[in-house]
Symmetry: D2
Subunit: 244 residues, 4 copies
C-alpha cells in the first residue's frame, strides 16, 4: 500500500482511522488514578497589574502602554473563545476562518506575554546585578563578558523595527542567545524561553524620546529588575537540565 | 535625573556604565568553583543522519529533503561564524549587517531544528499510540479527545502555506497547543517547546502528491513514531513543572 | 481648534463631517455627461486558459499548477464578496474580520495576477528577443547590458524562497528593476508594473527538477515569450510617460 | 532535449547562451536614433522639503518625522550603491548578501516614497474636495458613495498595525482600491499606483495622540490636500487608459 499510488487519495479517511491505538495493562487503573484527566478549558486571562516606578518613562506613556496590553489580552480571550467552535474541516492556506484565527492567536498571545515579561523585568531604579548571580555568570559564559552581552543585546534592540529585544534560553542551541522579534510574531526562534524583554515598538518610547531610541534603551537597561531576572535564570537552568 | 529631559541624550554612554554591578561574599570562591565559567564557542552543528523508512514518500523526495536540510545547517554555521565578528556598533533597523545576519540566523536555525524534529518523529510504519501513554493522556486532556487533537492538528497543517504544523508545550498557556508556522520563522509562538512536527513546505510532498497535501499529511500521521514523541512528552512534562 | 487638545477626541465624528465638499458650476452638467458614474460591482474573475506548450515542465506539473491558480481565483472572488458586507466600524489591527479579509485579499489577488502573467510570458519554445525591440533596449539601458539584466534576474529568482522573480517598471525610480517577492505579498514594491514573471514557489519546479531550481529557471528564461513581453514593455513606456 | 532528463542539469550554462537574440533591419539605424541608449546610473535621491502646515500634529512630531524620512533616503542610496557591486553568482534564498540587500532595498524604497506621498497629500487646512473633480467621481464610482470610500479607508487605516493606509489604482482590478500595508513592504499589492497615503506607524501620531489613532486619522483626512490628490488622479486615469 502506497500513497504514492495517486489512484487512492486519502482525503476521505475518517480521522479516527488514521493513527493506530493500543491498550495496555496500565489501563486497568481507574481513570481517577491517571494524571491530567480534566479537560483544559479554553484559556481566559486576566490582565495583571504592574508597577512602573521608573521616572525614565512618562506617566502618559505608562498609562497608554497598560491600555495597549489590556487590548491584547482582550483580543486573545476573544480569539480563544472563537477557536473553540471554529470549523476545522475547511481549513486551508488561502482563505479560511481557522487560518485567520490562528494568525491572530499567535500575534496576540506573544504580545500579551512579552508585555507581561517586559513590565515585570523593567523597572527597578535601585537594582544592580550581583556578579556571582546565575544571571551574571551565564551571560559571561555565553557571550564572553557581561559587557559583550550588553553590546549584543543593544545591537538586537536597535535592529528591531517595531518589535522586541529578547534574551532567552534556546533549547536547541542549549545556550543563552539574544534575538530581535519583528512585531509580535515575526522572526521568532522555536524553543526559546524568554528571560529579559525590552519593548522596541515606537509606542514604548516615542512620546518621551522621539527618535532617540538608544537613550530609551539605555534607561531601560539601567533599571532592569535583576531580582525578577534571576528567578527566570533559575528556571532556565532547570529547563537546560531537562533538554540537555 | 530624567532621561525625559531631552537635553541629555544618552547615546555616548559607555556600555560598562549602564548596569550597576555589585560584589558579594560569594565572590571569594575561586573562579574554578563557579559553575559555567567556560566561554561557549560559536556553535558548529554537524548534520545528523536520519532513517526515512516510510514508503509513503519516494526515495527522490527523501534524498532531496536531506540535501535541503544540510543546506540549512551549512548556512547556520556560516552565519554563526559571521556573527562572531559582526559590527554591533552600527546596528540599526533599516540596513545593517548585524540585522541581516540575525534575520538569517533565526530562519536557518528554525529550519535546521524543525527538520531534525520532523525526520525523527516521522516515520515508523509499525508505530501505534498507547492509550495510557503521556502523549495520549495529555492530548486528550488539552484537546478534549485524541481525535479532536488530530482534527485540530490537521487544520493547522492544511492552513500553513509553505510552513510547518507543530504540536508544542506552551510555557505561558501551560498547555499543549498546535500552531502553524509560516516558512521557518513567521508566526511562531514565544516559549514553545516542539513535540510533533510535520513539514508542510511543498518540497515535502509535491513530487509524490502534487496538490493533494491532505493525503501526504495523513500518511505522515499514520507513521508518527510514538516512541520518539513519548520521550519528548516526558521532557515537556518536566518543563511544565519548572514553569508552573 | 487643535486635536492635540486631548479633551476632545474625535472618535464620534460622523464620517460625512470629516472632509469638506464644495460644489462648482460644472455640476450643472447632467449626470449623464459626467464620466464614470456607474458603480463598480465587486469583482468576479473567471480563470483564464493558458497554453503551456513547453516540454521543460511535465504535464503533471502543468495540470497541478492550473489547479492551484484556479484556487486563488476562487478565493479572491469569495473574499471580494465577503468584503462587500464586512463590518468596517470595528476594524482594528489586533483582531477583526475586516483586517483578516484585507490580508487574504492581497494574498490571493497577487497570486492570481502573478500566475496569469507567468503563464502568459512563459513558454514559447521558438521565441527569441529582437535586439532593437523595446524589451532589449530598455533592459540594456537600465542594467548596462542585456546579459547583466539576466544575471540580476537570476540572482533575484534564486534569492526568492517560496516566491516570485519579477522584472517591472518602478514608477518612483522611473526605471526597470528586478525584485523578488516573498510568497505572494511580502517584500513587494509599491508602484511596480510587472513585465516578466517567473514562479519560484516549489510547486513550479519540484516535481520535475527537485532541488535544482537553477535548471528550472534557465529553462523558463529560454522560452520567454518575447512577443507577449514586448507588448507589456510598450505599455510600461506609456506609463513612464504618464509619471515622468 | 528536455530538462526533465536529470542527467543534464543546466547549472553551468553561460548566461549569454540562455536567451536567443536576433537582429533586424531596424538595427541599421544609428545608435543615436535609438531611444534610451544611455545607461541609468545607480539611483541617488535627495530628500525633498515638505511644508507640514497643520496644527493637528506637533512641531516635535514633524521634525522627528522628517528625520526618519531622511534616514530611509540615506539607507536607500547606500543600498543602491552596494547593489551595484554585489555578487550575483552566489545568490540564494537562505543566506546571501544579494538577498539581504534586495530585502532592505524594497523596505527603504517603499518607506521613502510613501513618506513623500504622505507629506505631500497632507496637510492643507483649507482644502476641500470638489464634487465634480475626478477624485470625487472616481471614489463615488468605485466605492458606491464618497462616504463609503471614507469608511473603507478608515477601516484600512485602523486595521494597519505599524503600517500605511493607501488608496491606489490597481492595474489588474482596473479600479481604485484601499489597501493597508504592513510596515513598509508587507501585504503590498503588485501593480498599485498610490494616490492617497496616510502613515499609520506609531511615530506618526503617538506623541500627540497616544493610543487615540482614530482622532489622528480624522485630523489627517480633514486636511487632505485635494489639489495634490487630483493631480494624481489625472495620472491614474491616464494609466487606466494604458492598461485597459
Amino acid at each position: 500500500m502506497s500513497l504514492i499510488d495517486r489512484k487512492n487519495p486519502l482525503v476521505n479517511v475518517d480521522v479516527d482511522g488514521i493513527i493506530k491505538k493500543s491498550i495496555t495493562d496500565h489501563l486497568k487503573k481507574t481513570t481517577a488514578e491517571l494524571p491530567g484527566d480534566d479537560l483544559n478549558e479554553s484559556y481566559v486571562h486576566e490582565p495583571k497589574q504592574f508597577k512602573q516606578v521608573t521616572e525614565f518613562v512618562s506617566q502618559k506613556t505608562k498609562t497608554a502602554h497598560t491600555e495597549l496590553y489590556k487590548g491584547y489580552i482582550e483580543s486573545l480571550n476573544k480569539i480563544s473563545s472563537e477557536l473553540d467552535t471554529a470549523e476545522r474541516g475547511n481549513a486551508n492556506s488561502r482563505h479560511s476562518e481557522y487560518r485567520s484565527l490562528k494568525l491572530d492567536e499567535v500575534y496576540n498571545l506573544n504580545a500579551s506575554w512579552l508585555h507581561e515579561l517586559y513590565f515585570a523585568n523593567c523597572f527597578d531604579p535601585h537594582s544592580e546585578i550581583v556578579m556571582d548571580s546565575m544571571s551574571y555568570l551565564r551571560l559571561q559564559r555565553d557571550f564572553g563578558t557581561f559587557d559583550d552581552w550588553q553590546r549584543d543585546f543593544m545591537a538586537c534592540a536597535l535592529s528591531a523595527g517595531s518589535g522586541w529585544a529578547v534574551l532567552g534560553y534556546h533549547m536547541f542551541l542549549k545556550k543563552y542567545v539574544n534575538f530581535m522579534i519583528s512585531h509580535h510574531s515575526g522572526d521568532v526562534p522555536v524553543g526559546f524561553y524568554p528571560l529579559i524583554v525590552v519593548d522596541m515598538w515606537e509606542h514604548a518610547y516615542y512620546r518621551d524620546y522621539l527618535t532617540d531610541k538608544k537613550s530609551y534603551l539605555i534607561s531601560q537597561m539601567r533599571e532592569f529588575n535583576w531580582t525578577v531576572i534571576e528567578e527566570r535564570f533559575k528556571k532556565a537552568e532547570q529547563i537546560a537540565q531537562v533538554v540537555k
